[in-house]
Every structure is written in structure tokens, then in C-alpha cells.
Symmetry: none
Subunit: 218 residues, 4 copies
Amino acid sequence: MSEIEPWLTELLRLNDEEEKMTDKQIKIVQAAVEIFSEKGFAGSSTSEIAQKAGVAEGTIFRHYKTKKELLLSIVAPMMSKLIAPFAVKDFTKVLEADYPDVEQFLRAITINRLEFARKHFPIIKIFMHEIPFHNELREQFKETVAVLVLEKAYKAIRHFQKQGQLIELPEPTAMRLIVSTIMGFLITRFLLVPDSEWDEEEEIDYTIKFILYGLSPR
Amino acid sequence: MSEIEPWLTELLRLNDEEEKMTDKQIKIVQAAVEIFSEKGFAGSSTSEIAQKAGVAEGTIFRHYKTKKELLLSIVAPMMSKLIAPFAVKDFTKVLEADYPDVEQFLRAITINRLEFARKHFPIIKIFMHEIPFHNELREQFKETVAVLVLEKAYKAIRHFQKQGQLIELPEPTAMRLIVSTIMGFLITRFLLVPDSEWDEEEEIDYTIKFILYGLSPR
Amino acid sequence: MSEIEPWLTELLRLNDEEEKMTDKQIKIVQAAVEIFSEKGFAGSSTSEIAQKAGVAEGTIFRHYKTKKELLLSIVAPMMSKLIAPFAVKDFTKVLEADYPDVEQFLRAITINRLEFARKHFPIIKIFMHEIPFHNELREQFKETVAVLVLEKAYKAIRHFQKQGQLIELPEPTAMRLIVSTIMGFLITRFLLVPDSEWDEEEEIDYTIKFILYGLSPR
Amino acid sequence: MSEIEPWLTELLRLNDEEEKMTDKQIKIVQAAVEIFSEKGFAGSSTSEIAQKAGVAEGTIFRHYKTKKELLLSIVAPMMSKLIAPFAVKDFTKVLEADYPDVEQFLRAITINRLEFARKHFPIIKIFMHEIPFHNELREQFKETVAVLVLEKAYKAIRHFQKQGQLIELPEPTAMRLIVSTIMGFLITRFLLVPDSEWDEEEEIDYTIKFILYGLSPR
DNA sequence: AATGAATGAGAGTTCATTCAT
DNA sequence: AATGAATGAACTCTCATTCAT
């Protein structure tokens, strides 16, 4: 863990704009991510984090008032990144200009999220485990995702339906089927068979085709 | 929580064959399921469980040597139920006799798992949250599921592929796409929109059709 | 431990006169002696004793109101046996009749205590460990030993001093030197080198001679 | 107990070389020695120690991982002091130069151990009570004492035997008789009659003479 | 007489957090 | 900014003892 992790540079960049993080603080976050993702938030102790980070126990609480604040400081900024691809102002324009057909759109989204997951894997794991236990997380997630992403995503679905590229079913249902498939792809890749050889290109292809055939008119 | 929960009667039945559970023990398990599923294993305290169960804290440890043993006593028996539909001896015969086409097979599996999830929801939630943190669980799961279910499932896929009802793609890939879709259906139903109105019949239909179109030759 | 231990038959005999012990009670005492002597009183748990005795936890408390009562029921009766050799009415007569010289007296005492220690070893161990922590034990010991044994022992010392067989030094000092030597002999035999081969006859001889030379006029 | 005990200054000195003990830590050790020696290790509770030391219970465990570690930190360093008189490199030289006859040698040893016992009495008491129940203690004791002390002591015995000052009997036997007598002296002094008036000079004299007469050729 | 489930006080230990340095 | 000793509440677990059966 001596090389700098991708999620860390992201996190640094996010925080950088606000204020500098000290060396020790970086070490703390690094250790916290590792331990939280390995044992879960409640199963991790601040003293263990301090030890792995090579700082005194008190130092953690100089930067984060509570253990929970440390968790949130890790997980919250990742959420805005999560929804980044949809946070464009003129979504419909992008859609029309860049993605003439569903396939290209789906492929772009899938690859984009694949890279995102690859980069932020440990934090995503933490996020998914803790979201049921922390209202702040859930609320924050609902606000950003529900409002921003869902709206844009439905718009995209309707767009392609109008073009006759997707069959007519309720947007939430279409959304569910697409997201399930892509999430299943990511979970399989990163959780179930992380080490085994798998032909990524091919699997992406199968996955996109599956959605396409499943949702396009015959 | 004074009415008897469905998962409890199941659990009782499983244990009944071996030895009787006392009244207090039932109360303990009941309370533990509730609290574990609400706060996670590490976030729950035995004293809280004891209080909710209306027993002395020591009583818990009379029946379960450790807090973890209590967890396993709840989660482990559910695993065998999880794979029950595949634990038939002569699987191919059942396949041929009962399910002339993929659609009926998929529909049966989906509805069956839907009912299962409805019954065991809190325990499944506990299981899914704890499996990354407990080796015993992971091992046990791998042994039962990997060996039993995967094998049978692949057989079914090959069976329908030979009949020309499914397109030719690697069994693991086909499996992944199907399972993703069904799991996404269940997660949506029980976690994301548990209270909202949703037309279950219709959603099942959409889901099955999606898989069908996605995987059958045109 | 399935054969009946010598200290047990003694204990049974002592109690027999008062009341019968049930089978389970015997098992309890047997287990208690073993465990107390191995782990100390405070370090032993009644549940462990019950388990080793093959009885229910409650059964112990049917026979002994408290854990401590169980301890005392084991240790107390041994005390009267401890002082038995001195509990003769007409001690001086015995002395004159049976032991014409100190050597024979010392040899008799030593061998007698050796046999006693061999028989009651585990209980003696318990006794010696617990006496500093239990006032009842200490009081009881002082009353019996101080009053009975010391008095008689001093009498014997004076007796042999008058005869010129022992040099003139204060009885307590003489007593201390003799007892130290014999106790050292027993402790070596049973605690320090319990398993190693040692020529008992010879060691007894050395020990007696040592005391004799150390205390007799040249 | 507000004055500083002699054994404490010793213990501090031993540890000082390695690392400083905090004020509270000293208080903890002080309280632990008192309570362990009064009630035995298993019979003492950490909460009682904390209370007597005037610290929070958690503080104990900041300095000692377990209750047992606290015990060992008290008892172990005393063991090296116990054998100090024999831990001289050129033992035979010391023997020849400083102790021309057995009497002076025995007297020196006795007085030296008497002072040692006076200083470390509570810790010695703890040590002797706990040694049967803790393998680490027993092993450590065997290693240091058996190897170091016994060897040297036997050498001394042979030395005086060669000079004709001691009769020819097996070294272990001679050792046993001498140690028994001195230990008996110390136990009497500190355990049996701690408060009563006793003429120490005189008693030492009797004791030395007893060993001398008992073991020297006539 | 015997059981063993149940108890609740208290055991040893961990923990997030504070604070003087 | 950083330390690490100190805290005390809370944790898991053990124990001697009780009591309905």
C-alpha cells in the first residue's frame, strides 16, 4: 500500500480545493479506507487505524471530530463522482450529438462505470455496506441520485424510445433492468471473480448485447 | 414483533428435529434477527438483544457460546434453504418433465425466489451484510452454492441451449446475466421501493421477457 | 481418576459416621479436589467442577450451600487427620514406652507424615494454598494445631532434652528446625521431584541423621 | 501505603533502564502488589486494583495488555534478583577468597536472603502462591534457578566437602537440607510469627549451628 | 435428590474521545 | 499539528447461585 492509490489522488484533489491535507492526515485516510473496507465501519477501531497509519491515536481526532466524520469524509465526496457522467447541463444535446444509437450510449456508460469502479473499489465497498446504517448517507444519496441521475436517465430512455430504439416499457422498469445488468457485471468482475482471468472486452460485449436484445423491438 | 415471523417458524422447524428451543431462546433469536438486520452484527450489542428479548444478558451466552455463534445459528440454516430448489436429485428429469420451455422455467425460479426473499428478508439482509467479514460464512456459501447450484444451473442452461431456446454463450456469462436480472428485481422490490405500489405481476413479466429476449435467438 | 483415591476413602469414612454421601456427591468432591488442587480455589469454577463430576450445575448447591462450603468440607476434615499422631491422651506414656531414643521417635514421625502426605497430597496442596485467604481455615488450624500439637511436641522436646539426647535450645526453635527439615523433605518428595527416582529409604536416613546431628550434644 | 516500599524502588530501578513508568503506572503496580498478595491473583479484580490505585480501570489495560501481564511484570523481574547472589562469574574465586569456612558462607547467604525477603516480602508471597498455576512462571524459574543457582550451589558444596568441612552426601541431599532449614527460618520469621518479638541474632545463630552440626564431620 | 434454564452482578477488556504537554 | 496517557462507558462473557420442574 505504499504506492498512491487512485481513489486517494481523487480524494486529495477534491479536498485540495478547500484546504490542504497534512501528510499524517493522508496516512489516516489511507489506513481508514483499507480497514473500513476490510472489517466494516463498526468492526474497525480508531486505534487500529491510527496504528496502521503510523500516527498517535489522538491525531485522528484532531482532523475528524468523530469516527463517523472520518467515514463520511471518505464516502461523501465519492458520491458526487458517482453521478458525474450525468451531471452535465445540457444532457439532451450530449445525447444527440455523441450517441446516435443506444448501443454506443450503453457501451460508453458501462465502460465509464467500469473504470470508476476499478478506481474507487474499496470506497464503493465501504459505501454500499454502510448506506443501510447511516441516515446521512442515505439522504445524501437519495438527493443526488434520485433527483439528478434518475431524471437524466429517464430522459435518455424516453429519448431512445421515441427513436424506436427501445421498446415501450415504464422508464423505472427499463432503468432497473439496465442497471441490474451493469451492476451485476461490475459485482461479478470485482467481487466474485476478482482474480480469475476473464476476457473483459468479450464480457462487455455480451452484456451490452443482452441489454440491447432484451429491450429493443424485434 | 409479537406475531410469529415466517422465517422464525422455518428456523424452528429446522432446529426442532435436533432439539427443542426454550421460550427464551426463541425470543433471543427473534430479537437478534431484528437488531442484527437493523444495525449490522458489529453494530449490535448483546445487551440490546437481551433487553429486546426480555431476558438476562447471561441467558444469551447459556445458549450461544459467543455472539458470533448466535449470528451463525441464524444465518447458516438459511443457506441450505437458499439452495433448496436446486437440491433435487434428478434435476434433468424435473427439467424435462416440468419445464417444456425456458420461460416457464425462469418464471418458476423467479417466483420461487421471490417468495423465499419475502419470507426470509431480514435474515437474507444479515447474510449479505456479514458474508464479506466472516470466513466461515464465505466458505460455507462457496461449498454449497458453488458446488450444488452452479453445477445444476449450468446443466439447465446447456439443456435449453441444446434445444435452441437459448443462444450459445458461455454458461457463466448466461448465468451472470440471468442472476443479475433476477437479483436486481428482488433488490428493487425489497430494498429500494419496499413500500411503494408496484404491479408485481407486470414487473415479473417484464423481467422474464427481458431475459428471454436478451438470451433467445431471433 | 476412576480408581478410588486414598484421601477419598478417608473422607468418606469421616463423613460416614454422620451421614451417607450420595454417589453424585462423591463425584462432586472428587472433581472439586482435582480442580481446586490444579487451579486453586478462586481459579476454579463450579460449572467446571459440575462438568468433571458429570452432574448438573445445580446439584452442587443442593449439597453445599456455597462454593466455599464445598472447599471447607474438603479441607476441614483433613486437619483433624493432620494432627492425629499427637491426639493421644497419654502422650508421655507413649513416648516413654514406644520411643526409647530420639532417632526412633523422629523416624516414626517422619514415616508417618510421609504416608499421610502420600495419601492426602492433593488436599494438602489445596489447604496450603488457601489458608492465607480464608480466616476460618486459619482460625481452625491455629486452634487445633497450636493448642494440641505444639503443646505435645514441646513436651516431647523437653522430654528428650532432660534425657540429654537433645541439646538445650528453646523448644520453639528446636521445633522449627525439626519441622523445617521434615517439611523440606516432604515438599521435595512430592512437589519438586515427584516423578524422578529417588531412594526414599536413604533420603529418610539422611534427613533423620541431619536432624540428629544438628540437635544432639557432641 | 503512601511511603514508597522497598520492593517498589527496586522494581522501578529495573524498569527505569528500559523506559519510564508514569505516575499512574507506579500507582497501579503498587496497588496490584498489595491486592495480589492479600487475595491471590485469581481472587483479585482489576476494578479493585484500579480503585486502590486511584485510576480508571481502562488505564490498567493501557499499560498491561492483560491482568496476567500485570502479574508477570511484577513477579518476573523479582526472579532475577532472587538469584543475584549466585550470578557471579567467578564463583569459586569468591568462595575461596571471601569464605574460608562453611559457617561464614552459610551466615552470609542466610543474612543476605533474610534482607532480600524483608525487602520483597509481598512479591515473594505472590510468587510462591502463583507459581503452581502459571506455566510461564514455572518455566522461567526452572531455567534461571535450576541452571544458574543449582550448579553454583553444588559447586560450593563440593568445594567444602573436599576441604573436609562438610560430610560426604549427595549434593542434592545436602542442598535440600540446607535450603529447607533456611527457608523454614524465613517462613517462620515472616509468615508464622511476623509480629512477635524474636531475637533475630540468636535465631540466626541457632539455625547456622544446626546446619553446621548436621552436616559437618564429627 | 437431581436437573438445567435462568439470573444479574461483576469479571476482564476495548473503545472513542479528551486533554495536558 | 501532534502526541499518548488517561478516561469511563460500554462491551462480551463468566460466575455462583436460585428455582421451577
